[in-house]
């Protein structure tokens, strides 16, 4: 399979070396307190991997996720994304990378209010400089693939949580990025919907070779990933293949595909 081959190529998608992140806080006495969140993180993720990052709150997993997503910059260390040193890029170059190379899926869906599902999905294309008509056409195609075609003209508040998250996934996919970052994507969803969303990710990873990095604190959600990284107090304490993955997939292998190509 394409994803398996990709996993063995020599060029990693993400390569992080000695990455540190600290925040300067103003203490009550007016002195600056430095709060280090990440300590010398080393991490390599190859194309086609499905990685779950786990940890308790305060472990630094969200900070790592923000840096991976080019939403935040590291204090020190290097971050190579698809062969580019991201740490050295300007704000606008980072915006371009977020637009072209990364798809975001958030816990709170983060759709733009009072905008139809269709326009929400099309917006990244508009920022990429593609015309509105063509953007909408491609957005509709993606909504069709995630089974939301009939909801295209609905606004987010008219959609269920699961539908909103699928709109968000469609939006993440529209520029065909090699990487999807999902930050607690099932945090606001019930068990059944969570399962559907995770199977969708699983399928994207398997069929299209999209690299997925998932942040969660739930073991049963992390179980869908093939690799598990556990953070504690800003250090990686576990980085292993996920045996549980196979079991979950076997349970899910009932043949009903959530993505119809």
């Amino acid at each position: 399979m394409a994803s398996m081959q990709a996993a063995h190529t020599a060029n990693p998608l993400i390569q992080i070396e000695n990455l540190c992140k600290s925040y300067n806080l103003q203490g009550a006495d007016g002195k600056t307190i430095t709060n280090q969140v990440l300590f010398s993180i080393n991490l390599t993720i190859n194309p086609g991997e499905f990685v779950a990052i786990m940890g308790h709150s305060g472990s630094g997993k969200s900070t790592l996720m923000n840096i991976l997503g080019c939403l935040d910059t590291p204090t020190s260390g290097s971050y190579w994304l698809a062969g580019k040193n991201v740490a050295a890029l300007s704000g606008d170059e980072l915006a371009h990378i977020r637009n072209q190379s990364i798809g975001f899926v958030f816990q709170g869906f983060n759709l733009l209010k009072r905008m139809t599902a269709l326009d929400n999905v099309a917006t990244p294309l508009l920022y990429a400089g593609i015309g509105r008509a063509q953007s909408r056409k491609r957005a509709l195609e993606l909504l069709r693939r995630t089974g939301l075609e009939s909801f295209a003209m609905h606004q987010p508040n008219q959609l269920s949580g699961g539908q909103q998250q699928r709109v968000a996934i469609s939006r993440a996919l529209i520029n065909e990025p090699p990487l999807i970052l999902a930050d607690e994507p099932t945090g606001n969803l019930d068990t059944q919907t969570s399962r559907e969303i995770m199977l969708l990710f699983e399928q994207l990873n398997r069929d299209q070779g999209i690299t997925i990095v998932l942040v969660t604190h739930e073991d049963d959600i992390a179980a869908y990933a093939k690799r598990l990284i556990r953070l504690k107090d800003g250090h990686i304490i576990v980085d292993k293949c996920n045996e549980a993955s196979e079991t979950v997939l076997n349970q899910a292998a009932d043949g009903n595909s959530l993505i119809t190509q």
Partner: protein
């Protein structure tokens, strides 16, 4: 993201909060309307003054007799009758002077049929009509021969003619001035108010000789109330003034070092002052109105800052899906500019409309020029850019991670 798309996004955002957009726009509407109204009133006043000045005649001097004083009391200019008709004729001979018109005045009662009317009578020479730039509505001015024979002929001002005759044709009719019959030979074209606000059309004119001998009488024969002097050219006005002064001093035998017993006033200079005053007035009116535009602009800035704070999360989402700083900046700047431009257009319409109402209700001359409309539009867009830039810059310089985390 192309401009067309961003305009669409901006319109969508403005529609989402109609009441707020409307109220913010109201500040702009009032500001622009005020500027347009004030400028048009100011321009109207200037046009009116220019018309009055043009009607007054060009290169004019007013020569009035001097002041007299007795025991420390000054009786004001004209309190002695030092100027005479012959002074006027002598001045007319000067090379820098084209014509003079001596004037005596008085108040008289006029009668025609059952109607009577009280007005100011002007006794003068036929030159008065050319020097004072008077045009005839009907009939003709009295002539030099009327002057010599002290004929009982009269030229009516348009207001006087209307009051005495109504719709009837006055030419050839006989009216009574202090009970003496006079034949109406002409009616003047209306001029309107003078710079001092006097109605110049409520008057009657007769030959100065007739006036002196038969109407106002004169305790000092040959003396006049004032004279109008017309210089030959605008550039020689200073020379003319010196020549008039020298000639009068010589004729009045005023010793060196003594003060003049007359005053020469350059009416063109007075007109210039009036024009300048009107200009200053329109600038002041415009400036006051601009303050309301400024306040409207501050309102826009205020609302845009609130909007940026409220929509921090939206900004974060947009940045996460690939909006760069320029896209965010343009989006918010365009929102501010659209409030201003729409407000400006509505304000322009409201301003022109209220100028029209003012011109009708207050019977004022209101002038709206293309330049004014351009200025108001330019000003409102400039306000949009100026007051919209800071909030937009603030939105664009948010850090994506902070904006996304904002609750």
């Amino acid at each position: 993201m192309n401009l067309f798309t961003i305009i669409g996004e901006a319109l969508r955002a403005l529609r989402q909060n109609r009441l707020r957009t409307g109220l913010t726009m109201l500040g702009m509407i009032i500001g622009v309307a005020a500027v347009v109204l004030m400028l048009s009133i100011g321009q109207g006043a200037r046009t009116k003054i220019n018309e009055t000045i043009a009607a007054m005649g060009s290169n004019l001097f007013l020569v009035v007799p001097g002041a007299t004083s007795s025991g420390g009391f000054s009786f004001g200019s004209g309190s002695v009758r030092t100027l005479t008709i012959n002074d006027a004729y002598a001045i007319a001979e000067l090379s820098s002077v084209s014509a003079t018109a001596p004037v005596t005045t008085g108040t008289v009662q006029l009668n025609y049929a059952a109607k009577n009317w009280s007005t100011i009578i002007t006794g003068t020479t036929p030159n008065y009509f050319t020097v004072g730039n008077w045009k005839m509505d009907s009939g003709a001015a009295f002539t030099e021969s009327d002057l010599r024979s002290a004929a009982r002929v009269v030229v009516l001002g348009s207001v006087t003619a209307k009051n005495l005759f109504g719709d009837e044709e006055p030419i050839g009719k006989t009216i009574r001035i202090t009970n003496r019959p006079f034949v109406v030979v002409g009616v003047l074209m209306a001029k309107g108010q003078s710079l001092t606000g006097r109605d110049q059309d409520d008057t009657v004119l007769i030959p100065i000789t007739t006036s002196e001998r038969q109407i106002t009488g004169n305790q000092f024969p040959g003396s006049i109330r004032y004279m109008l002097v017309q210089g030959t050219s605008a550039s020689d006005m200073d020379i003319a003034e010196i020549e008039i002064t020298q000639l009068l001093r010589q004729r009045h035998r005023i010793a060196k070092g003594k003060e003049n017993d007359f005053t020469v006033r350059n009416l063109t200079a007075i007109a210039d002052v009036a024009t300048d005053t009107a200009k200053v007035m329109s600038i002041v009116l415009g400036a006051i109105a601009s303050v309301s535009l400024l306040v409207g602009g501050i309102g826009i800035m205020n609302i845009m800052l609130v909007s940026v704070t409220e929509r921090t999360r939206e900004i974060g989402i947009r940045m996460a899906i690939g909006a760069n700083q320029r896209a965010i900046l343009t989006q918010f700047l365009l929102e501010a500019m659209m409030i201003c431009i729409m407000g400006g257009v509505i304000g322009l319409i409201v301003g022109i409309g209220s100028a029209w109402v003012v011109s009708r209700v207050a019977d004022m001359l209101i002038v709206i020029t293309i330049g004014m409309v351009g200025l108001a539009s330019l000003f409102s867009s400039a306000v949009g850019i100026f007051f919209g830039f800071y909030p937009a810059k603030k939105a664009a310089s948010l850090k994506p991670v902070d904006a996304l985390r904002y609750e």
